[in-house]
C-alpha cells in the first residue's frame, strides 16, 4: 500500500510540522510562554522603575524572564504526548532520533518566537539598548540553542513523572546553570558595549555546553523515551 520511503530529514520535518499544526490549533505552549513573558516583563519593569540598574543586573533580569517563560511552555511537548496517550503510538511509529530532533527543532522555534517578542519589549520597558548588538545576539542565539537542547531531554524525563510541571523547572535549573552563568556574562558585555575579546571564556563555555548537551541528549534520548 505505501508508495515509497522517506528520508530521515523528512521524518523529522513531519514531527516539526505536526507540532506546529497542533500548536497553531490549540496554542497549548505558546499561550503559556507569551503570557508568562509579558506578565514577568511588566512586573520587572515596575520593580526596576526609575532605578538605573547595572548591565549585570539587566542581563540577569533578561535571562530570568527568558528562562522562566521557557520553563512554562517547553515541557509541554512531551507531557502532552504522555498525558493524552499519543506517546505509545509515537514510540511504535518512529525511532527516537526522529522524535528528539523534531521536538528539539520545535522547541527552538518556540524560543525564537519568545526571543523575538521579549527583546524589543525588554528594550522598550527597561529602556536599555545593547551597545554591542553582535555580542548580545551571539549570546542570545547560543543561549537559545543550549536552552532548547537541555530542556528537550529534561522534558522527556519529566513527562514520565507524576508531578511534571514543578519538576521540570527544578530539574532544569541545575542542568542549565552553566549555560545561564555564561549567557548572563555575554549579555552583560553586550549591554555595556564590550567587544568579543571580553567574552572569549564564556563563549567557549557556551559553545562547549551546546555541543556536549545536544550530543548527550541524543545519546540518552532512546533510553528515556522508549521505556
Amino acid at each position: 500500500m505505501p508508495t515509497g520511503s522517506v528520508s530521515w530529514a523528512a521524518k523529522v520535518a513531519a514531527v516539526v510540522r505536526k507540532e506546529l499544526v497542533s500548536e497553531f490549533r490549540t496554542r497549548y505552549a505558546i499561550n503559556a510562554i507569551v503570557m508568562f513573558a509579558l506578565v514577568t516583563l511588566t512586573v520587572v519593569s515596575f520593580a526596576v522603575g526609575l532605578l538605573s540598574p547595572s548591565s549585570e543586573m539587566m542581563a540577569a533580569l533578561f535571562w530570568i524572564i527568558l528562562f522562566f517563560a521557557a520553563m512554562s511552555g517547553l515541557a509541554q511537548t512531551f507531557i502532552k504526548e504522555e498525558e493524552s496517550g499519543t506517546a505509545l503510538v509515537l514510540k511504535l511509529s518512529s525511532d527516537g532520533s526522529v522524535i528528539f530532533f523534531g521536538k528539539l527543532l520545535f522547541n527552538l522555534l518556540l524560543l525564537i518566537v519568545l526571543a523575538v517578542l521579549i527583546v524589543p519589549l525588554f528594550i522598550i520597558f527597561l529602556k536599555i539598548i545593547p551597545a554591542n548588538w553582535a555580542v548580545f545576539l551571539t549570546g542570545l542565539v547560543l543561549g537559545i540553542v543550549g536552552l532548547a537542547g537541555a530542556t528537550t531531554i529534561v522534558a522527556a524525563i519529566v513527562s514520565k513523572a507524576t508531578v511534571k510541571g514543578a519538576l521540570f523547572t527544578v530539574l532544569s535549573f541545575p542542568v542549565l546553570l552553566p549555560l545561564l552563568v555564561a549567557v548572563i556574562e555575554i549579555t552583560t558585555v553586550g549591554f555595556s558595549g564590550g567587544g568579543f575579546g571580553e567574552i572569549s571564556a564564556p563563549l567557549q563555555l557556551l559553545v562547549a555546553y551546546d555541543v556536549v548537551m545536544t550530543t548527550l541528549s541524543v545519546m540518552l534520548f532512546d533510553f528515556v523515551w522508549r521505556l
Binding site: 513531519a14 514531527v15 497542533s22 503510538v89 511504535l92 525511532d95 526522529v98
Partner: protein, 207 residues
C-alpha cells in the same frame, strides 16, 4: 520472502512486590494467532506492551526472529502494530493528517488514495477531514485500526478488539483481524467469549 517469528519464554512481570503474571511461554509464526484472556488485572494489557518492546519484563524473554536472526527493537518495531483503547491519536489533527503523519514518521509515503482505502475498510468513508478530537470513541477505535493497517504489520497486537464499537464496527474489525490471521502473527487480549474465535489458541492468565 522472509517471515518474522515470535517466541516468548518464561515471561514474568512484577510491579513492585506484586507479581502480575509468571512463566508465560508461547511461540507464534505467521498465520498463527493467540487470544490472551484472564480476569481484570491479570496482566493482559501488560503482556501486549511487553510484546511491543516498550516495556521490559521482570524475567523471561520476548524474541522476534527473521530467517533465524534475532531482531533488535528498531528492526521489529516497524513490523509490529498495536490497537488498544488506551492508545490515542492526535485530537488536534484530522483523521487524514493523523494517518499521513504516522506513516511519514515511520518512513512510509502514503497517498490520499491509500488513506481513503483504509478509512473505507473501517467504515470511515468521507470522514478523513474531520478532527479526531471530534470523533466518538468508537470512531477513534476504528481509526486506530486504519493506522495499524497502513503500517502493513507482520505482527498485529490488539487489546480489547471491539471496545467502544457498535455492531457494524465490530464486524469491520473482526473482518480485518480475520484477514491478518491468514498472513501475520495476531495476538489479541480479550475477555469477550465471542472474540476467542478470532484466534487459534488461548493463553489464560491469572488462573
Amino acid at each position: 520472502m522472509s517471515m518474522i517469528e515470535l517466541e516468548v519464554t518464561q515471561l514474568t512481570k512484577r510491579f513492585g512486590r506484586r507479581r502480575v503474571f509468571g512463566d508465560v511461554s508461547f511461540a507464534l509464526k505467521p498465520g498463527q494467532s493467540l487470544a490472551v484472556t484472564g480476569p481484570n488485572g491479570s496482566g493482559k494489557s501488560t503482556l501486549l506492551r511487553l510484546l511491543t518492546g516498550l516495556s521490559l519484563p521482570t524475567a523471561g524473554k520476548v524474541i522476534y526472529t527473521e530467517d533465524g536472526k534475532t531482531l533488535g527493537f528498531e528492526h521489529y518495531r516497524r513490523k509490529v502494530a498495536m490497537v488498544a483503547p488506551y492508545l490515542a491519536l492526535y485530537g488536534a489533527l484530522t483523521a487524514g493528517e493523523n494517518l499521513h503523519f504516522l506513516a511519514r514518521v515511520d518512513g512510509r509515503k502514503v497517498s490520499d488514495t491509500d488513506i481513503e482505502a483504509v478509512l473505507h475498510k473501517v467504515g470511515l468513508d468521507g470522514r478523513g477531514g474531520d478532527y479526531v478530537g471530534a470523533y466518538s470513541s468508537g470512531m477513534q477505535q476504528r481509526l486506530k485500526y486504519a493506522a495499524a493497517m497502513l503500517r502493513e504489520p507482520e505482527v498485529l497486537l490488539v487489546d480489547e478488539p471491539s471496545a467502544n464499537l457498535d455492531d457494524t464496527g465490530k464486524k469491520a474489525v473482526f473482518d480485518i483481524i480475520a484477514a491478518y490471521r491468514k498472513q501475520a502473527i495476531v495476538v489479541i487480549a480479550t475477555n469477550e467469549k465471542e472474540e476467542y474465535s478470532l484466534a487459534d489458541g488461548i493463553c489464560q492468565l491469572g488462573g
